[in-house]
C-alpha cells in the first residue's frame, strides 16, 4: 500500500484534461505522504498517447488489448479489479465524468470497497477525507472514509490545476486475459448536431435557467441578449423541456463558454453548469435566492426576481447604446 493510482481517461485519441487534474492531485498527496503515483492507461494503440504522461507519474501501467479499443466499462473493470487486488493502492482516482460514473461504482461493488464520487478536495493522512458539494451545491460535505484498504474516489472536473512535476516515469506493460466478450458492446459515437448559433465563440451571453419559469418568457431574455449584442444560452432543464435547442446548453454535457460577459438569469449553479462557464471574464448572476451557489462563481450578484430586472435592464442598455 504505497501508491496512489490514477485511471487515465482518454477518448478519440486524446488524453482528457481530467487525467492531468487527477495526476496533479495524486502527486500533491503523494509528496506529503511518501506514496508513489501510478497512472493506469487502458486501450488499444495508445502507446504514443501514453508518452504524453511522461513526467506526470512514477509509473505508468499500460494495458492494451483489442477488446479495449473503445471504452466499455466491463472490460475496464476486469483489468482494474486485477490491478487493485495485486497492487493494493491506497487510493484509486477516477474522473467524475461519464466514463468514470459508468465504471467506478460497479468496480467498487465487485471489489467490495468504499467509493465516494464528485470530490472537489481530497486529503490523505492516516485516513482519507474528502470535500464534495451536496444539495445542488448549496452546501459542502466533509466526508471521512474509515477503511484501511483501497478507496475509490472520483474527482470533479476543473477543480485542480494540472502541473508536470517532471518525474522519472517508468512504463510497465501489463498483459491481460479478458476472457469472453462482455454483455455490453460499444456501437458508435453520436456527434452533436451542427450548431446554428455557436455560443462558444460569443463575446456576450445571456443564459436562462429554470427561473425563467415558462417558454413564453424566453423572448424577453432573447431581447436582452440582442440589446447587449450577444446570444441566448441556457441551463439543462431548458433544453430538456424543449424551450431552446441543445446547442444552447452550457455545462458539462453541453458547451464550454468563456465570454467577456456571462449574465445568468435564474440559474442555481449546479457544478455541471458551472463547469461550462466558470472561466468567463465577467459573470453577473440574477437569482432571487441569496444562497444560490451561482453566487460563488459570479463576480457580481443581484438578489432579485429576474422579471423585475430584465425589462429595466433592456431599456438602460438600449439607452446606453443609443447614447453612443
Amino acid at each position: 500500500m504505497s501508491e496512489i493510482a490514477v485511471l487515465v481517461e482518454h477518448r478519440l485519441g486524446e488524453i482528457r484534461d481530467i487525467t492531468f487534474e487527477m495526476l496533479a492531485k495524486a502527486n500533491q498527496l503523494a509528496e506529503k505522504s511518501g506514496y508513489r503515483t501510478t497512472a493506469i492507461m487502458i486501450g488499444k494503440g495508445v502507446e504514443d498517447l501514453a508518452g504524453k504522461l511522461k513526467g506526470y507519474c512514477d509509473r505508468l501501467l499500460l494495458v492494451e488489448d483489442e477488446s479495449m479499443k473503445f471504452f466499455v466499462s466491463d472490460a475496464y473493470q476486469k483489468v482494474l479489479e486485477d490491478i487493485v487486488r495485486e497492487r493494493r493502492p491506497r487510493l484509486l482516482l477516477i474522473g467524475h465524468t461519464s466514463y468514470g460514473l459508468e465504471l467506478a461504482p460497479s468496480l467498487a461493488a465487485s471489489l467490495n470497497i468504499p467509493l465516494i464520487t464528485g470530490c472537489t478536495d481530497i486529503t490523505l493522512d492516516e485516513g482519507v477525507e474528502v470535500v464534495r458539494p451536496v444539495y445542488g451545491g448549496k452546501l459542502l460535505a466533509r466526508v471521512e472514509v474509515n477503511y484501511p484498504g483501497t478507496v475509490i474516489l472520483t474527482l470533479s472536473q476543473g477543480v485542480v490545476k494540472p502541473f508536470n512535476p517532471g518525474k522519472e516515469t517508468e512504463i510497465i506493460r501489463k498483459s491481460v486475459d479478458v476472457g469472453e466478450p462482455g454483455s455490453k458492446v460499444f456501437l458508435e459515437y453520436v456527434m452533436p448536431e451542427e450548431s446554428e448559433v455557436d455560443i462558444s465563440s460569443a463575446d456576450v451571453i445571456v443564459a436562462v435557467g429554470r427561473g425563467i419559469q415558462d417558454k413564453s418568457n424566453i423572448p424577453q431574455a432573447e431581447e436582452l441578449a440582442k440589446a447587449l449584442g450577444g446570444v441566448l444560452a441556457c441551463s439543462r432543464p431548458i433544453v430538456d423541456k424543449g424551450w431552446l435547442p441543445q446547442d444552447r446548453q452550457v455545462g458539462s454535457s453541453g458547451k464550454t463558454v468563456k465570454p467577456k460577459l456571462y449574465l445568468a438569469l435564474g440559474i442555481s449553479g449546479a457544478f455541471q453548469h458551472i463547469q461550462g462557464m466558470k472561466d468567463s471574464q465577467l459573470i453577473i448572476a440574477v437569482n432571487k435566492d441569496p444562497n444560490a451557489p451561482i453566487f460563488n462563481v459570479a463576480h457580481y450578484g443581484v438578489v432579485e426576481d429576474l422579471f423585475r430586472i430584465v425589462p429595466v435592464l433592456i431599456e438602460k442598455v438600449r439607452e446606453a447604446r443609443g447614447g453612443g
Binding site: D74, H96, S98, Y99, E102, P105, S106, A108, A109, P114, L115, G118, E129, R132, V134, Y135, G136, G137, K138, L139, L140, A141, R142, V143, E144, N146, S183, K184, V185, F186, L187, E188, Y189, M191, P192, D203, R210, L228, R236, P237, D240, K241, D247, S253, T256, K260, S268, I283, N291, F295, N296, Y300, V302, V303, E304, V312, K316, V317, A320, R321
Partner: protein, 262 residues
C-alpha cells in the same frame, strides 16, 4: 417486461434555505418540501411507457424512512403496480455502496428484466447507486442514458458523454440503466390516480427479511461518515449589487461600460 425503478424521496432545495442542524452533520428538514428525485421521475416515466407498449409490471423501490411513502404513493398514482420500501436505522444513506447493497438484496427477490435508476440524486449527488447496484447483482448496466430501444433479449441505449457527444451501446438483458433528464416528458399525477394510490399497499421489508446481516450493514455503513456540512466559503462570493431595479440596472450598465462591453 417486468421493470423495477429505484426512487428516492428528496428535499426540494433549489429555492429553499437549507439550514444545517446544530451538530453540523445533517440538514434541518423542517420547512422543506420533499418530492421524488427529479431524475427518478424520468426513470419512472420511461418504465411506464415501456410497460404501456409491451405489458408487464412496474415496481418502485426505495430505501428510506416512512416519510418516503409519499414518493412511493406518487409513483403508484402515476401508474406503478407495486411499491416496496426498505427501512432500517443502521443503513447509512450517505454510503452509496450500502444503499446499493440493500437494493440489490431486495431486487434479487423480485422478478425483473430491466432496472431503472436516476442518473443522480439531487441531495447527495453521487450518481453511484444505480451502477453499484448492477455491480452487486452482476448484471450489465449503462449510465446517463438519453435513449432506450428494446430488442429481443437486449437493449440499445444512447448515453451522454461530455460536450454534447453521446455513444450508443448494446446491452444484454436483464440490465440496469441510469436515466438522464430530458429522455421523456414525465406525466402529471391525475386526481383519479391519487385516489387509487391511497388504498394501495406499500410493502416494507427489514434487513432480516432480506437475509442481510444487520451488523455487516452497520459495519459497511461506518466506512463513510459525514463529519460536517457547511456553506461554501465566502471569499469567492459575488459582490452584491443593491438597490431598486432602476438602480441595479444602472449599476450593471456602469460595470459593462467600465469593462468596455457596452
Amino acid at each position: 417486461m417486468d421493470i423495477v425503478v429505484c426512487v428516492k424521496h428528496v428535499p426540494q432545495v433549489s429555492e429553499a434555505e437549507v439550514r444545517v442542524t446544530s451538530d453540523g452533520r445533517d440538514i434541518d428538514r423542517s420547512g422543506l418540501v420533499f418530492d421524488i428525485n427529479e431524475w427518478d421521475d424520468y426513470a419512472l416515466e420511461e418504465a411506464l411507457r415501456i410497460r404501456e407498449e409491451r405489458g408487464g409490471t412496474v415496481t418502485v423501490i426505495t430505501v428510506g424512512g416512512e416519510e418516503s411513502d409519499e414518493t412511493l404513493r406518487k409513483c403508484l398514482a402515476k401508474g406503478a403496480d407495486n411499491a416496496v420500501r426498505i427501512t432500517d436505522p443502521r443503513i447509512n444513506l450517505w454510503n452509496p455502496m450500502v444503499v446499493a447493497r440493500v437494493l440489490a438484496a431486495a431486487i434479487s427477490k423480485l422478478q425483473y428484466d430491466l432496472i431503472l435508476a436516476g442518473a443522480q440524486s439531487s441531495d447527495d449527488g453521487y450518481g453511484a447507486v444505480g451502477p453499484a447496484l448492477a455491480g452487486f447483482l452482476g448484471i450489465p448496466h449503462a449510465t446517463i442514458v438519453k435513449k432506450v430501444e428494446l430488442r429481443d433479449g437486449s437493449v440499445l441505449v444512447q448515453r451522454e458523454l461530455e460536450g454534447g457527444l453521446e455513444e450508443r451501446l448494446k446491452i444484454k438483458l436483464p440490465a440496469l440503466l441510469s436515466i438522464q433528464t430530458g429522455i421523456n416528458e414525465p406525466r402529471y399525477v391525475s386526481i383519479m390516480g391519487v385516489r387509487r394510490a391511497m388504498r394501495r399497499p406499500i410493502k416494507t421489508m427489514s434487513l432480516d427479511e432480506l437475509g442481510l446481516s444487520p451488523s455487516e450493514i452497520e459495519d459497511e455503513s461506518s466506512w463513510i461518515m459525514v463529519k460536517e456540512l457547511y456553506a461554501p466559503p465566502v471569499e469567492r462570493r459575488a459582490e452584491i449589487i443593491e438597490g431598486n431595479p432602476e438602480e441595479i440596472a444602472s449599476k450593471i450598465v456602469e460595470i459593462l461600460k467600465s469593462r468596455g462591453i457596452l
